[in-house]
Symmetry: C2
Subunit: 579 residues, 2 copies
């Protein structure tokens, strides 16, 4: 019998003073619905009860609403470009006290070590970070990721109490065709009684049956009410995602009713730091959903109890005796403006500000993850002897590209020449994990913009090699070399000098700077991209580049091994005269 | 990767024929609500999906409603007087495919061995029996039970995958006062991530906070809507109990609404075999609740998904791909008349009948549990020198007794004499676990009836010693000795001969006969009790006796150590002239 538990019961029974009493709060009851004015007492990080116990500290809630701490059911922390401590500092003030994080990006860079870093760097934070083990590293066998994760690699991690299951299973064909390695990962999670997250946009009918039958039981990739309802019916939890790019909440909301709401959750998936600072986090989902007509109790349950039930987070998601004192005080159930946030009974943030800076863990070997082979003399030389080239075409606000066939002018030797081809850019991906020197070079639709320079970044889904685009080879080289020198990041080069950069030294993905600092730098980079490079206003300068390297979304993508035709599932030559 | 899982996926994908396809069913969707007509395919005991797959067997549901298998959230199997196999045979045809069983009675007789018997005797049955480890054995320290269960005894059982937690925590003062042994049991369950069932009639306010804070998270003892709502608000699950004696469903139903229904469950607690045969099992809860106005989907969820969530029964409680094929076909969502029951994909019962007899496990040492010391010459001699006696008074349809002070006539030696005291009976409890010879003798209100004979039974809550009542010592002796000879049971003796009996040789509590046989015998015993003994029509002849031995319910009770004043919490003398 540990003394802490005995003290806790003594506090609940009034034999010892409570640590904290919150007075004048309207407490939202996620179990029975409704709001009730009563004191909430806390001891040992847990709720003691609803009586007016004597307490060492009293907080006056001023008639505001007290909710359970909010839960983001699916997030890639790396997408915030912040390390876990800085990420916690940006989301806690918005009331998010727990996240279900899939460290898919860092896993592609550093494998098990990357996942371990995320676990260790988030251990002991007031933000409770639960981890879903990345299921698809690399995304495709044709990719040069930094690591390969097989079931055997995941086995040692799956028993970690903070690991909540297997991350989004993007390898849908692997499940449908009962691929041995894929099934082994799913069975591993099942053997631990843990959940398997899904990722199955568009899947339906018998294929969806098979996917669910295999044990995949959530999905955050629905974009129509029908998709959502088909998944709910199959016992899956459906997440209403509202990220920086992918925004599905309002599209899916018509599917949610008072009967099925308990199978619905909220998530951000990917949200950039400036976006979080401006819109908020899961509290923004609450605001949007309620504004669109969802019952506030149902909405709060989706952000709390439902998520806790889905991921087996005992003692989370409600305000009740014995439950964890993760609490959020909001002005009302409309705007969900957050006034105070307690994590495990401790006041962590007030009026939008953290009360203290969180300790940051030294990333160790994750710093210096960029291992780029020395560049040859002409790394970006491109031969198109036939004079007809495959060019990556881009579309407004979309990650889907086209494969455009264009006439190009070349030197006598058949070498592509920028000067002869206005309206075309080069794009390249350079392997950077194992210094293999592999470099794929292609052509990019000039609609992207980018005049008089180059942009490089080590954030390049999902393998996170260095992707670079430019209108001259010299600036492309400079941008790539500066990215490597920074240990990863985003670099803009123009006319032989570095114009601006954001260092992402942790795995080449995350900064150890504050959210505000990263957001400011990113804003400045985006401003320069528009004013200096005239980047297309229908695209995000950096995110567009990042996804041009992902050979999962159609049609034509670039990898360190060259151009990849996603539909045909094969590499193709830039020269349209060859296969 | 096991071959069974691969075959299962091959069946789901249509690469191999399904084991079963149920056609023309209206499938109730507990996740999204509503009913949808679609095929349901089954393979390897699990749901494959909703497509019309080729199947080796096809079942025509004839437009009836298909529900997930029903779950009884709290039951003492021993109260059916049937061993687990016979119990399974009686409840499966009514659609109950899973029960959360607290083997509290057999644990009081045989301790860990009794719990193990229940686990082993139910292993492999089509009825899924999950066990809550009995938390309060004996019920009180003053009791002569067959065993004492401490946390250390429970520890070896708690990790059993079929053990779902700690059984009903009746020792409320132990929790409120943070008794070390009580907390150790609760912490044991918590350490295994398992649930602790409650039992806290009337508890409210801060005391209820403490009880919930300690980790008790269900209650089946509510009898008012207010009690139910106060528990739901504290994060507890509330069970609507409808047993043979305790009938709370209609009293509690006004508390249930569409918002809080997910925290509500159904249970029987104690239901006698004739009652099950006549009324049904959890399907009777559905029928009653829907007739009283509860939404059918909410009702079915309470009997399925909610219970599965409460007790962490993964893959149970819904009809969806990958979930267990525990299925119940009912005529409609009004009468819930059960037509067919599948357990783990196998047809177990049809039209109220089991399709096969279930194997019964040899109870081994549990047979012969009655170890009674040889009776002395006058075991029931009672001295009341003062001529004023404490008499156990009984009330209509109640387990609560009164302590009546009555004038009694005695022999010159002060010995109670039946002939001089018409309207008074003797009642005695004889220790029968360790042959200690302890015998408590008292007086019982003649209102009970019982003329010209005696009734004895080894079902005597909670210690299950032998309790006997009669209007003459000779028949009392005969009834007790015959009960012991049978290895336990119920015996009626009259004028020197055994009038009728029901043998309960398994722990003195359960029969190995069929439900119908036991029900018939019990009915005959009850008939004789009325016609031959003129037992009061406001009492149940045997249950009243059984509970007169339980020193937990006020006011005056009889134990093997003598009369017990429950409110004063002390033994008292039959002679009212003494303390």
């Amino acid at each position: 019998m540990d003394g802490k538990f005995r003290l806790f019961l003594d506090q609940a029974a009034g034999r010892a003073p409570a640590d904290l009493r919150i007075d004048n709060a309207r407490v939202l009851d996620v179990f029975g619905g409704g709001v009730r004015e009563c004191p909430v007492c806390v001891g040992q990080g847990r709720i003691l009860g609803f009586s007016a116990l004597e307490a060492r500290q009293v907080f006056d809630a001023g008639g505001r609403c007290l909710l359970p701490g909010l839960i983001d059911s699916h997030v890639h922390i790396e997408s915030s470009m912040l390390c876990p401590a800085r990420f916690a500092e940006i989301v806690l003030p918005f009331g998010t006290t727990t996240v279900i994080a899939d460290p898919h990006e860092i896993a592609n860079v550093q494998g098990v070590a990357g996942v371990r870093y995320m676990l260790e760097a988030s251990a002991g934070l007031p933000l409770d970070v639960r981890v879903m083990l990345s299921s698809c590293v690399p995304a495709l066998p044709v990719e040069d990721a930094g690591a390969v994760l097989e079931a055997a690699d995941l086995a040692e991690l799956m028993s970690d109490p903070r690991v909540a299951g297997l991350g989004e299973m993007m390898n849908v064909p692997g499940v449908l065709n009962a691929d041995t390695g894929t099934l082994a990962k799913i069975r591993l999670a099942a053997a631990h009684g843990k959940r398997v997250d899904g990722h199955s946009p568009g899947l339906a009918g018998r294929d969806l049956d098979v996917y669910a039958a295999a044990g995949v039981s959530t999905d955050h990739e629905c974009s129509t009410p029908e998709e959502a309802l088909e998944r709910i019916r199959r016992g899956m939890y459906v997440m209403l995602r509202e990220g920086s790019a992918a925004r599905d909440l309002l599209r899916l909301l018509p599917a949610v009713d008072s009967v099925n709401a308990r199978r619905c959750l909220f998530c951000t998936d990917d949200r950039q730091p400036a976006d979080i600072l401006e819109r908020g986090h899961i509290n923004s989902h609450l605001r949007m959903a309620v504004a669109a007509g969802l019952d506030p109790v149902d909405a709060v349950r989706m952000a709390t109890l439902n998520a806790a039930e889905c991921y087996g987070l005992r003692g989370k998601g409600g305000i009740a005796p014995g439950w964890l004192a993760d609490l959020v005080l909001v002005d009302d159930l409309q705007d969900f403006r957050v006034r105070a946030v307690w994590a495990g009974g401790r006041l962590a943030a007030e009026n939008g500000r953290m009360l203290s800076e969180l300790p940051q863990r030294d990333p160790g070997a994750l710093r210096g993850s960029v291992r780029l082979a020395p560049l040859p003399e002409n790394p970006f030389e491109l031969r198109v002897p036939s004079g007809r080239a495959r060019v990556i075409g881009i579309q407004p606000h979309s990650l889907v590209t086209t494969c455009d066939i264009r006439e190009v002018r070349t030197s006598a030797e058949g070498v592509f020449d920028f000067a002869l081809n206005p309206g075309l850019l080069k794009i390249a991906v350079l392997e950077r994990h194992h210094a293999t020197g592999k470099t794929g070079v292609g052509l990019l639709d000039g609609r992207y913009g980018l005049r008089g320079g180059a942009i490089a970044t080590s954030v390049a889904h999902d393998s996170h090699n260095i992707v670079v685009a430019g209108d001259n080879d010299a600036d492309m080289r400079l941008a790539v070399e500066e990215t490597a020198r920074l240990g990863g990041g985003v670099v803009m080069a123009a006319r032989g000098r570095v114009l601006a950069s954001l260092a992402l030294p942790i795995g080449g993905l995350m900064s150890d700077q504050s959210a505000a600092g990263v957001a400011d730098t990113l804003r400045e980079l985006l401003r320069l991209a528009r004013t200096h490079y005239h980047i297309w206003d229908q695209a995000d300068a950096f995110m567009t580049l990042s996804f041009l390297a992902l050979p999962v979304i159609p049609e034509l993508k670039i990898t360190a091994r060259g151009l990849f035709d996603v539909s045909a599932f094969r590499f193709v030559d830039v020269d349209a005269g060859r296969r």
